[in-house]
């Protein structure tokens, strides 16, 4: 992958060669991994960074005075700068490492939620993952604040009009999913952020699905806070990011107390460390953060524009092939251009668990169930869906394998090809 390949369709053969797991077989078939919205596979560079850290520089960070601690601290803090650059943050001090998107959102719900009064409104969307719903439900129980929801339009998308109907003078927090993990649709975050700002509300973006697939720039989005996870973008599990505008983070109380996050501690009280350490109590996930740096290098080398173009092309191909199958319903926007890398569907009234089990026997890994979005399932009027989700190493032939597997599932349940 040279700079010359940026912006062109990806050389998936070269990319695939760097992911050792893609060489394995499942039930005697080549692995076709289409569950990337759940987690992505890891390139050798990320695996090497992880073992390399433990093999050569393992030490606790920020307090050791020896060489290993210095090297580990520098490597860890370097990734913070990489993350800041990746999302267009104005300072590395705006980047807090957490365990995952869920913890980032809980940090915000806990700290921002403490300021709410009865009658204050928190605006979410009908398409939230439970991670951006349940923390806010807990806030309403503690404070008497109420939840309001931006509904889906007729094309099963969040749009500016449905957002306008939910945001008003009582709105204190708007926290929305950027790219739906079920519908694949991209919400008009910048426009919604503008509405939030107009009423003085805080704008939070759940970028767990978008950060891996499309260029994300916190300035362009107009966000106050943004959350995402390393493991959905080639990085290891156990690392989440919370980005927040510096003046806002500085004004927040700590979430977790303990070592690393303090400045001066007496028996009675403590003062807090400077950003971002105020929010990183205890020994962080040093190894996985460092390995996440290798994942960001990998993504940057290919380029997020090229990845987005690749995902869009695969999505268009998949929507085209799937929609030709009799009895197949796709959820989300009808126009492939309005969605990215995630396709939820049901096929011929065969329950998605049966579809997933049958596909698995052909080596095709998809997700089935409610996708941690039970309220959205109810809105769509289905108990569950199958979901295929793509990433930079997927190829058209894998969509073909998915379609073949679906036809086989249909046959098993008594439908002719």
């Amino acid at each position: 992958m040279t700079a010359a390949t940026k912006g062109t369709p990806l050389d998936t053969a070269a990319i695939r060669a760097q992911f050792p797991i893609l060489a394995r077989e499942v039930h005697g078939h080549p692995l076709v991994y289409l569950d990337n919205a759940a987690t992505t596979q890891k390139p050798q560079a990320v695996i090497d960074a992880l073992t390399g850290y433990y093999s050569t520089m393992n030490a606790n960070i920020h307090r050791g005075l020896h060489t290993l601690a210095e090297e580990a601290t520098a490597a860890y803090e370097h990734v913070r700068k990489q993350v800041a650059e990746f999302i267009g943050a104005s300072s590395h001090r705006e980047v807090v490492f957490t365990r995952n998107t869920t913890e980032s959102l809980n940090l915000l719900a806990y700290t921002l939620g403490a300021r709410l009064k009865p009658g204050d409104e928190i605006v979410l969307t009908a398409a939230e993952h439970h991670s951006n719903l349940v923390p806010w439900q807990l806030v309403t129980q503690r404070t008497g604040a109420v939840l309001r929801f931006i509904e889906l339009n007729d094309d099963q998308q969040i749009d500016v009009d449905t957002a306008r109907a939910a945001i008003n003078a009582n709105t204190r927090i708007v926290s929305i999913v950027h790219m739906s993990n079920v519908l694949g649709s991209i919400a008009p975050v910048a426009e919604i952020a503008e509405m939030a700002r107009a009423v003085g509300a805080t704008m939070i973006v759940d970028a767990a699905q978008s950060a891996p697939h499309i260029p994300v720039d916190v300035g362009e989005l107009g966000a106050d806070y943004l959350a995402f996870s390393a493991h959905k973008m080639l990085g290891p599990t156990g690392v989440g990011v919370l980005w927040g505008r510096q003046e806002l983070l500085a004004d927040l109380d700590p979430f977790l107390g303990g070592g690393e996050m303090i400045s001066v501690v007496t028996r009675e009280e403590s003062s807090w460390a400077a950003l971002p350490h105020k929010f990183e109590a205890g020994t962080p996930n040093i190894a996985d953060v460092i390995a996440f740096g290798a994942a960001l290098d990998f993504l940057n080398e290919i380029g997020m524009d090229a990845i987005a173009a690749h995902d869009a092309e695969l999505t268009e191909y998949a929507v085209d092939r799937l929609s030709r199958l009799e009895g197949l319903d796709i959820y989300g926007p009808a126009d492939p251009a309005e969605r990215s890398a995630v396709i939820a569907f049901n096929y011929r009234d065969i329950h998605s668990h049966d579809v997933a089990t049958i596909l698995d026997r052909s080596g095709v890994a998809i997700r089935a169930g409610h996708h941690c979005a039970q309220p959205l399932m109810r809105t769509l009027g289905v108990p569950a869906t199958a979901r295929a989700s793509f990433y930079l190493y997927n190829e058209r032939s894998e969509i073909d394998a998915l379609v073949d597997g679906l036809l086989e599932a249909g046959e098993r349940f008594g439908f002719e090809r």
Partner: protein, 169 residues
């Protein structure tokens, strides 16, 4: 590990999707609540959303009939359908004993099918070879356990993986 086990004992989709199971899935028996139900119970599988509602008519210690409702995959729904047929006419004691055996069969792929006569329910024996589908098969039986225990004046300790509760009776 799986591949080793599989190479010695190949696991085929036919083990899971037996004709009997697909038949019950396409043409469920005793679908719907019973007017003469003496006890009703329900349960669901939080990890996947499968749900079963069960109404049971019990007279003089005998299960006179069962009706079921709910939604879910072929395994959860056919398991419930087969159960309604197999339990009809049994004493409470016999039904509870049978439920125990079926749950053993569903969870243990070395279960000895010759040891107990489970009739058509033996079609569910392949489920044990598909660990992620075991809970699908178990759901209806956990709901039955809840209903029958209640009918016997006992309480069932809630299985947190598959929550069940008595809804009337």
């Amino acid at each position: 590990m799986t591949s080793n086990r599989e190479s010695q004992n190949p696991i085929d989709l036919d083990d899971l999707y037996r004709d009997v199971i697909l038949d019950h899935y396409r043409s469920p028996r005793n679908r719907g609540a019973r007017d003469d139900a003496t006890i009703s119970a329900e349960g669901f599988n939080p990890s996947c959303g499968d749900e079963i509602q069960l109404s049971v008519a019990i007279l003089d210690g005998t299960v006179n009939g069962l009706g079921f409702g709910g939604s879910g995959c072929s395994i959860s729904q056919s398991s419930a359908s087969m159960m309604t047929e197999a339990m009809t006419g049994r004493s409470l004691e016999s039904a509870r004993e049978m439920s125990k055996h079926v749950q053993q069969m569903l969870t243990d792929d070395t279960f000895d099918l010759d040891a107990v006569d489970l009739g058509d329910l033996e079609a569910l024996s392949g489920v044990a070879k598909f660990p992620v589908r075991i809970k699908c098969g178990l759901l209806a039986w956990k709901v039955l356990d809840q209903a029958l225990a209640n009918a016997s004046g006992e309480s069932v300790s809630d299985d947190s993986d598959i929550p069940t509760r008595v809804t009337s009776g």
